[in-house]
């Protein structure tokens, strides 16, 4: 697996031109805050601000045109390092770079470029608007590559299945000291529990009923604990199994504070058995039991907000997540694993379904991202100590139509229905915001 690297991302739309990044860079690199000497140059262009800075290219032209071997890409950090002893000040690198990423320092005349400040960029730390971000999610991919995949290759998920991606990532992180419960749904359906006497999972796995998943898992966990075995008791359940008939046992286990990590893969319906509606299916969505025709125009009720119900159980940890925001998801997974050692941890992951939601198989991440960017889905976490707070607040959300039009199950919506959904998004946002404000003050 190839190495991935951290990067500095710049969103020009968020930059207000305060130039603090340039002062901080100049100070860190030259000892004085002369912004002309900053390795990051943010320039006012026509009503916008853009950037001249080293991109730490994977295929760096500055390196290929250097006659002195003074520039080289570090395989570990990904940073293109400059060796001042070897450099002959010929400036050929400035001719090689198409991004104005390397230029002579205004004072000493020698070329200077961003070196990512050894992993803690000074520019990012002073940016007041969030226009500069230090994106470190590469770390996850590098580490994940070294962890063991707990599922067999060739699970029979649909092409472009988000659930398969999610369960492989999750169990890689949870590791081999685990017992896994997978109630009826796509997770066992694609072969994780087994077929023809074989299992597709490398840890002990069992297939409870929809109704008793949390109860069975809690019992297994208690027995193993009694025997002195430290394992993560993990459930990967669908939204139907968790929010409908399985809700009683889920609620009970949460109320008792069972030491379990319960992950719900919310694809908003019974997708495994032919795309029937569940209580998590959103208003207006087509399913095979909420058809679209002359009279019926999709589901007529709103979705149940299952993660908020779990907050009301005062679980040790509750969070929502999305595979379009992996860094966020991994942070929450780590907290959920830790919380499951002393109480009930609940993770609710929104998981677009290419087959049931009717969108092309290569669009899964895009649909998941649009859900968050429109606030149709909100990413937050809760613990009794810290209350509820947003982990990826979207202050200027796109209209919900940007999300709805990305898939076929909403294609039939009329304006009235769209207005209803937009209003519901805002209502949900208001409720969660209120809880966030109140719980954080407490």
């Amino acid at each position: 697996m190839g190495q991935s690297y951290a990067t500095i991302a710049f969103d020009a739309a968020k930059c207000d031109g305060c130039l603090k990044c340039m002062s901080a860079c100049a100070l860190a690199k030259t000892g004085a805050d002369d912004i002309a000497r900053a390795r990051i140059q943010v320039m006012p262009t026509n009503f916008r601000f853009e950037l001249a800075m080293c991109r730490q290219c994977g295929d760096p032209k500055c390196v290929t045109v250097c006659p002195a071997g003074a520039l080289a890409k570090d395989g570990e950090s990904g940073v293109i390092a400059w060796d001042g002893d070897r450099c002959v000040d010929c400036l050929l690198c400035t001719v090689g770079c198409a991004y104005a990423g390397i230029a002579p320092d205004a004072v000493d005349g020698r070329v200077a470029k961003c070196d990512m400040c050894d992993g803690a960029p000074a520019c990012v730390s002073v940016c007041p608007t969030g226009a500069l971000r230090h994106v470190t999610s590469a770390r996850i991919y590098n580490e994940v590559g070294d962890w063991e995949d707990m599922f067999a290759p060739g699970l029979a998920g649909c092409q472009g299945c988000n659930t398969e991606l999610l369960m492989r990532h999750t169990m890689r992180r949870v590791g081999p000291d685990a017992v896994l419960a997978t109630p009826p749904g796509c997770v066992p359906g694609m072969g994780s529990v087994g077929y023809n006497g074989l299992t597709g999972t490398k840890v002990p796995v069992f297939h409870p009923l929809l109704t008793n998943t949390a109860a069975m898992l809690a019992g297994v966990k208690r027995q193993l604990k009694r025997k002195g075995r430290e394992v993560t008791a993990m459930a990967i359940a669908g939204d139907g199994g968790a929010s409908d008939v399985g809700f009683q046992s889920l609620s009970g286990a949460a109320e008792r504070g069972e030491e379990v990590l319960f992950m719900v893969v919310d694809n908003e319906g019974y997708m495994n058995t032919g795309m029937q509606r569940s209580s998590c299916t959103p208003y207006g969505a087509w399913t095979s039991t909420t058809p679209v025709g002359r009279e019926s125009k999709g589901k007529t009720q709103d979705a149940k907000n299952l993660p908020l119900l779990m907050v009301n159980h005062r679980c040790a940890y509750v969070a929502t997540a999305s595979t379009a925001f992996m860094e966020d998801l991994y942070g929450k997974l780590d907290k959920a694993i830790a919380a499951s050692k002393h109480g009930f941890a609940y993770l609710h992951v929104y998981s677009p379904c290419t087959t049931g939601w009717r969108f092309p198989t290569d669009q899964n991440m895009e649909v998941a991202r649009k859900a968050v960017e429109t606030n149709f889905v909100m990413l937050w976490e809760f613990s009794p100590g810290d209350g509820l707070h947003f982990t990826h607040p979207v202050d200027a959300p796109l209209p919900v139509t940007e999300y709805l039009k990305a898939m076929g199950r909403f294609r039939h919506l009329d304006e009235e229905q769209v207005r209803h959904i937009q209003a519901k998004v805002e209502e949900n946002r208001a409720i969660i915001e209120q809880i966030a404000t109140k719980s954080n003050v407490a």
Binding site: L51, P67, G69, L91, A98
Partner: protein, 417 residues
């Protein structure tokens, strides 16, 4: 007989880029690199800095000693290519070994072009193309009192500066009306020449040497106006040309260099050429030209390597754009593109006597043809993109001349961020 799926001849920028491009797509195929140099790869461009002492000779190598074994490349140093048999996919090396190849890259570079001056074979002189040349010249510079440099190109001017700084009386003889005429116009070159003269060099432009004769200390240089200059160090730096003797008897088409198409293919199956030995399409005119500069060599090598390995990502050569940077006595000059003024073109010039800076911009039909600066920094790589993308600068020309750095970056932000 040795067999290699990929045979690369040469060990400078074009060859090295080809090797890395081949390995990017084909990590396993057998690859041999043959070079007449006895050392690890280095760049001819760094040699003036070895002469000046700025670069230590053991710190100019472009690859670590274990690079080739790590990439599973058989690095065969100290032997040149002597004969090519493209009809049976084979080549003979100077050590007599014949190598059979599936695909061959000729990246054999160029050698100093020795001017046909009567008597040149009778006098000692230096050239500067290899690391051995550089080390010999370095020793001679230290001992020289009266030096003559033939040729006011980049190699000659760098060497002359080293000689001046070493305390020698230096005379530079250049046939053209001004130095560095391949990159700069008379005004820009004038600023460069002025720095040399102020530092004690003697510049004879528009002059030629008609004869060389041996004397006890070295050579007597006879100029076209009858003047004679005695010298203890004669450097001929009148350009380079590819050594293509190995093509004799083969059907590989060549002119001033080996003729290649936009994928660096020669006219013969399974043979590619790149770098200073190749004659490839010019961006501006479309003719096949020699463009013996480092960035072009690297780009051509990359394209050839990708094409040889069958990498589907290979893109056709955009055409050569002259590019160079030159630093002299602590100042710098940058040239991107061509300075000629074809019909329909216009130029803008900005000059500052006090800062001794100069900027010249040439556009044709609103498209950048060339930009040239002395003591005036702009992002050469950004300017090159403006040329290659044929960006319409009609409305931005004044801004570009006033502030090429910011204006170039604005276009970058809009067009290819």
């Amino acid at each position: 007989m040795v067999h290699a799926q990929y045979l690369v001849v040469g060990s400078s920028h074009a060859a090295l880029e080809a090797v890395s491009a081949i390995r990017m797509h084909d990590p396993e195929g057998s690859l041999a690199l043959v070079t007449r140099d006895s050392r690890l790869p280095y760049s001819p461009t760094v040699l003036p800095y070895v002469v000046s002492g700025r670069s230590a000779a053991d710190k100019v190598y472009l690859r670590a000693p274990d690079y080739f074994s790590g990439q599973r490349v058989a690095y065969m140093a100290d032997r040149g290519l002597t004969k090519l048999y493209p009809e049976r996919n084979a080549a003979t090396m100077s050590d007599g070994v014949e190598i059979a190849y599936d695909k061959l890259l000729l990246a054999t570079g160029a050698s100093p072009a020795i001017p046909p001056i009567p008597g040149i074979d009778l006098v000692p002189y230096h050239v500067l193309r290899t690391l051995d040349d550089a080390l010999k010249l370095k020793a001679a510079v230290a001992a020289s009192r009266r030096a003559v440099v033939l040729g006011g190109g980049l190699v000659g001017m760098h060497a002359a500066e080293n000689l001046v700084k070493g305390g020698a009386d230096v005379t530079i003889v250049e046939m053209q009306p001004h130095v560095l005429s391949a990159y700069f116009d008379g005004v820009a070159a004038g600023l460069i020449e002025r720095a040399f003269v102020e530092n004690g060099a003697r510049l004879l432009t528009g002059r030629r040497v008609v004869k060389l004769s041996p004397v006890a200390t070295g050579a007597m240089v006879h100029l076209d106006d009858g003047e004679m200059v005695e010298t203890d160090l004669l450097l001929t730096a009148t350009g380079v040309k590819p050594d293509m003797r190995y093509l004799a008897g083969s059907s590989v088409a060549h002119d001033a260099g080996i003729l290649v198409d936009d994928y660096m293919r020669t006219n013969v199956a399974n043979v590619w050429a790149a770098g200073d030995c190749a004659q490839a399409r010019d961006f501006f005119g479309g003719r096949l030209v020699m463009n013996a500069i480092l960035p072009d060599a690297a780009e051509q090598g990359r394209i050839a390597g990708m094409a040889m390995a069958g990498d589907p990502g290979v893109k056709a050569y955009a055409g050569g754009v002259p590019l160079n940077t030159y630093n002299f006595f602590g100042r710098h000059a940058i040239a991107v593109g061509i300075g000629a003024m074809p019909a329909g073109s216009e130029e803008r010039v900005r000059q500052d006597e006090v800062r001794r800076s100069y900027l010249r911009v040439v556009v044709k039909d609103g498209r950048l043809q060339g930009i040239f600066g002395v003591n005036e920094f702009f992002d050469g790589g950004v300017m090159r993109q403006l040329i290659l993308r044929r960006v319409d600068l009609s409305d931005a020309l004044d801004r570009l001349v006033a502030d090429p750095l910011t204006t170039g970056r604005q276009f970058m932000s809009r067009l290819w961020k």
